[in-house]
Structure formats: structure tokens, C-alpha cells
């Protein structure tokens, strides 16, 4: 059962979404509960009684649009951010948190050299 917003400010029509595909989705506190809102937009797409319901709705939007979901605390600070901006298999490989005797540029060059030699 999908969470139902207490009220809608705006319908999610296709044309409008097309224009905003790359905008992150935020879950932010509101006087009536919690709202989901696209980045740099003053208007919310729905008001929810609980943060949990708002997150469920926002996650679905973020997955549809391949964008980021940013969840805020009651005090407005960022509590968590999850990325849905890639399709499966297109995740970003993070750099190692410590330096090594050989730097990453040399490693990448060596890998490419090996591939070219085959």
C-alpha cells in the first residue's frame, strides 16, 4: 500500500517531470508533518503525517528519476543521502581512503596497458 499524501500541491504530470529529471528529491520537515520537495523548488509535491511515509514516496520518485534522495532531520539538517542516479551496474567506484606506494593514475595506466597488450 503506497503512502497517500495528506494533500497534493501539484499533480506529477509527465511534461513537468521531464523538465526536472535531474533535480534531487528532499524530505524536509513541515508544520503539518513532512513534505517531499524537488531541489530548488519552493513547492512541495506532497505532505505526509510521518517522515517514514514521506521517505517511501520520495524514494520512489528518486528511483524513477535516477536522482538523489536527501532526507533531513526535524531541525532541517541532512540526516542521510542516497543516490539513485545510475542504472544497475553503473555505480561509482570510490577511491581508497589511504594512499599507497603507487598512485591510482599509475594503476589505471598499467591496467589499460595490459588490456592493450592482449
Amino acid at each position: 500500500m503506497e503512502p497517500q499524501p495528506l494533500r497534493h500541491r501539484r499533480a506529477d504530470n509527465g511534461a513537468r517531470r521531464q523538465m526536472t529529471t535531474k533535480k534531487n528529491i528532499h524530505v524536509v520537515p513541515h508544520r503539518s508533518g513532512w513534505v517531499t520537495r524537488r531541489e530548488s523548488s519552493a513547492r512541495s509535491s506532497g505532505v505526509y503525517a510521518t517522515q517514514h511515509e514521506a521517505i517511501r514516496h520520495a524514494r520512489r520518485l528518486a528511483m524513477q528519476d535516477h536522482t538523489e534522495l536527501v532526507i533531513h532531520n526535524r531541525d532541517g539538517r541532512i540526516q542521510e543521502a542516497s543516490s539513485y542516479d545510475s542504472s544497475p551496474g553503473k555505480r561509482t567506484v570510490k577511491p581508497a581512503p589511504v594512499a599507497s606506494r603507487v598512485n591510482v593514475t599509475r594503476i589505471k595506466r598499467a591496467v589499460k596497458k595490459q588490456r592493450a597488450g592482449r
Partner: protein, 210 residues
Amino acid sequence: MAKYSDSVFLNCPFDDQHKPIRLAILFAIFDCGFVPRCALEVDDGTDVRFEKIKRLISSSRYGIHDICRTEIDANTALPRFNMPLELGVFLAAKSFGIGAQKQKSCLILDRDLYRYRNFISDIAGHDIRSHQNDADQAIIQVRNWLGTASGRVTLPGGRAIVTRYRRFMAELPDLCADLNLEADELTYSDYINLVSGWLSASPLVTLATR
């Protein structure tokens, strides 16, 4: 600096016997788009080890705790308690910590699924899975758990990671030779940099078609 939500604290035996599982888990963490954090990454003699571990735990949202090493040490005739201790600190941070610490999530690995009941039964109810002392199983368990715990849809499949890991290990000796490193004597920092660099230079599409 790795982000809290990308960091995975790895608590496992650092002996040679456990090396195949440890290397496979490290590879899987990188291939899933996360960053492993481990006590081996800080090589500072002046740092108190336990303080270092607490700092790493506090900066990691996720934790993988492999508690498979319960045997009596051949030299001391005593068991080692470091891994259960670090698991306890991680669980305590989630229970008593505030803010982001409350979001912590951990995977507990052992070689058999229900063996923990005989030596640390109080952890019943947590996410406990078995790698059966097999590197492929360890990769699949880590991948499946990270996918569920993070909710991310960008993770490659477990079998795809296993395939890439085998290919990486096959290419590692030549790669090390090219970089003037000894494949058998790689340090932790060398290994994780090689994994990260190799994965970055190996687009998934290219790998999948080979």
C-alpha cells in the same frame, strides 16, 4: 575523506588463513560502490589502537563483522577476543549513539550459520549469515546485504562481482609486476588502491561482454 553513508567498517581476522575471504570482501565492497574502513588503514605507531578502531566505527554507517575465528591460538593456547569486542562497540554505537549513529547497520558473518549459538548466543536476532569459508559466498552475502541495508539500486549482481573478482585476481600478478610490486607481499593500502584503480579502469560493460 569517505562519506559516512559510503563507509563500511570491516572487522575480520587479519591472518593468512583468512586472507582469501578478506580480499574477496574488500573487492565486493568497492565493486558495490562503498569504501572499506579497516584498522589496517592507519599505520601510525603513536595512535592507540582502540581509539583508532572507535574512530573508524564512528565514521562508518555500515559494519561487516566476521566472527569466524574462534579457535584457540596455537602459540598462546587462548582464543582471540578482538572481533567480538569490535562487534560489541559497533552495536553499542548504534544503541547509545545519537543522530547518524542510530542509522548504523551491520552484517555478522561466520563460517556456519548457527555456530554462533555455541559461543555468542546473545547476538541472536541480528543479521547473521554464513560464508562457509568460501570467497564466492562471502562476496554474494556482502553484496546482498549491502543492497538491502542501503536500498541502493546501483549495485551489480553477486555473480557479476564474483566474475570480476576472479578476473582481477588473474590479472593481479602482471599488474603488480608492471608497478614493481610483489603480488605476495602487498600491503593493505596497496591492495585496496589496486582494487579501486582496477575497477575504475574496467568499465562494467566491457567486462560483461568478455
